[in-house]
Amino acid sequence: MKTTSPVRRALPALLGATALGLVASFNPALAADPIKIGVIAEAQAIAGASIPQAAQMAADEINAKGGVDGRKIEIVTYDNHSSSADSVRAFQRAVNEDKVNIVIASYISEVVLALEPWASRLKTPFITPGAASNEISKSVHADYEKNKYTFHGYLTSAALAQSVCDAAKELLVDEKHMSSAVIMSEDAAWTKPLDVGYEECLPKIGLKVLDHIRFSPDTTDFTPIFNKIEAAKPDVMITGISHVGVQPTVQWKNQQVPIPMFGISSQATNSTFGKDTNDAANGVIYQGVSGTGVAVTPKSLPFAEGFNKRYGNYPSYAGYTAYDEVYYIADAVKRAGSTDADKLVDALEKTDWEGTIGRVQFYGKDDPFTHSIRYGKGLITGLMLQWQDGQQMAIWPKDVAKAQMKFPSFIKVTSN
């Protein structure tokens, strides 16, 4: 009886596999590795759900045109269930197992702040499409060599406050002669610097801050809050809300609180907000970097329409930024000629990209908000929009405005 050792029996198979492997590695199509972008987002939240969808759409468009120097872009998505811990695990998996070159992640500041040290440790470039906390880019400034891998692809809370104040000056103070306000914001990482910004810039434009109410993001009954605001008799309430949105808006309408809402209301940027609130949204004025039907740049409308055609709804604000991010990442890879992390960081710093929300450039090493997108005329200023008759209408700046401000009948616009 002849016996063969297991090794000997396996040998032909091993040889065959090696040969196949050799053939495969000489295949030119495989020689150009794809550029892998990890996308970690909140699949169940409206703002987050658009992030992987928009990224995929941008990747498909770039790939249809031949990719970047023959390299295709591959999007690898992870659902983080709005949790920091899940996001950190996803980030580690993306880098260590799926070998992504760069990560786009989350619209929640708490999540982004949890990921930032991991981008530094794993030396992997990372961009957020929607978080706002100042701390994200301040950390890059404070320890540049360590934290340079993080980019803040959305406006900082400080810039958001400035954008709201710039709009409030024209719309509320100059047009409606308003003179007082109450700040109403949820207790979260992104609103701390926002409120500091509001407190600073509102008095400068002529709105006296009568009271400042911060409330827990899990608040369900807003009656006591509106009650307190009304007692202060302000002309307007300046909002800083994102985790909540539907509930305060519906209760504002049901209780007929006679004071207009103006400011940041992230959920109002979603095209489904009207439906979610049964049109209680009518009259709400909110800041956005984009809006349905608003041509901030020539790229805005084709993107929004293409997205709607493909996914059946309009993108959230973080969808616009995520779409732009994939494009300027591709642009940076092309300029760097490599996906090497440090070279990519250098190239991203030199970004000058006209996207869907304006012209994207990043603040430099010496600016306080290093790696955050630049705010200002000719770059990104943001818009003010208002829900009117179930539609989102741009009302500021005047050059892109499609409508005049108008309020539901229960609102008393006071002009002192």
Partner: protein, 291 residues
């Protein structure tokens, strides 16, 4: 002025809590089941009512009915798919069945929550109020729907009282809660009594869910807090005691409202939880508990 505001607001919130907790305590009283999918069933009712109105374009009343029907179906599904198989299982020792039911309904609730988040996102949804507009009660601007909510809650609780105390079926339910063995000896089928109780529960949870969707709005995140609040109200009132739950609902509702107005909305739930801890120390059976 502020006192009146607290009185009105607290009343609506408390009535809603009372309705939500009644069904929960009834099920425990009759069949010994602590249904931890309670919050999920309430949220499901509200989301179904919202979806009916805004996706299928039904009118408000039809939407509300669809919401209640969804809760009724979910209640039966909970009973047949989760509770009954555990209770009938020969492989689970009898003394462990309660903990199995607890875990089973908790997981079932999480499944419902995740499905709602998957199909309808975790953003809050609100049900269109049946009555719009506000009335001025001595200077307090009160949404008509808030008054409607309180009235419906009390009418439903009243109807439940009549059902339990004045009808044959109700008396059988009451008897089952006191002595299940005695009921079977009288020739009544315990299973059909359980079915009746789960049906009552489904309708109560459904109405409470839809009203909550109109009054405050719900999201898939509300599932946990809603179960927790029903649970603490029922424990405070005395497990299984319907009148204890009603009293506890008002204690909790007003305590929360007073805190929200006089201290800060951020601390709303804390005093009620502290009270629960205190009651557990000095009167572990709850306010009106029998044991």
């Amino acid at each position: 002025m502020l006192a009146l505001q607290i009185l009105i607001d607290g009343f609506a919130v408390s009535a809603l809590y009372a309705l939500g907790a009644t069904g929960f305590t009834l099920i425990f009283g009759v069949s010994g089941v602590l249904n931890l999918s309670h919050g999920a069933i309430m949220v499901l009712a509200a989301v179904a009512a919202w979806a009916a109105a805004s996706v299928l374009h039904t009118d408000t009343y039809a939407g509300a009915l669809i919401g209640v029907a969804a809760a009724l179906l979910a209640a039966f599904a909970t009973y047949f798919a989760v509770v009954q198989p555990i209770q009938r299982s020969r492989r689970i020792p009898n003394e462990e069945k309660e903990i199995f039911v607890l875990t089973g309904t908790l997981l079932w609730g999480i499944m419902i929550q995740e499905l709602i988040a998957y199909f309808f996102t975790n953003n809050a949804k609100t049900v269109l109020p049946i009555i719009e507009g506000v009335v001025n009660i001595f200077g307090v601007r009160t949404p008509r729907n808030e008054i409607f909510t309180a009235v419906v809650c009390w009418v439903v609780i009243g109807a439940l009282w009549l059902l339990v105390n004045r009808t044959r079926t109700g008396k059988a339910v009451l008897a089952a809660s006191m002595n299940p063995r005695g009921v079977t000896l009288l020739g009544l089928e315990l299973n059909s009594i359980y079915l009746v109780v789960w049906a009552i529960y489904g309708v109560l949870a459904g109405i409470a869910g839809v009203l909550l969707g109109m009054f405050l709005g719900v999201s898939s995140y509300s599932v946990g807090p809603l179960t927790a609040s029903a649970f603490s109200i029922v424990v405070l009132g005395g497990l299984g005691s319907v009148s204890g739950s009603l009293i506890a609902a008002f204690v909790v509702g007003y305590l929360e409202t007073v805190t929200a107005y006089l201290i800060s909305p951020a601390y709303r739930t804390i005093p009620a939880l502290l009270l629960l801890v205190v009651v557990m120390y000095i009167r572990p059976q709850g306010l009106l508990g029998r044991r």
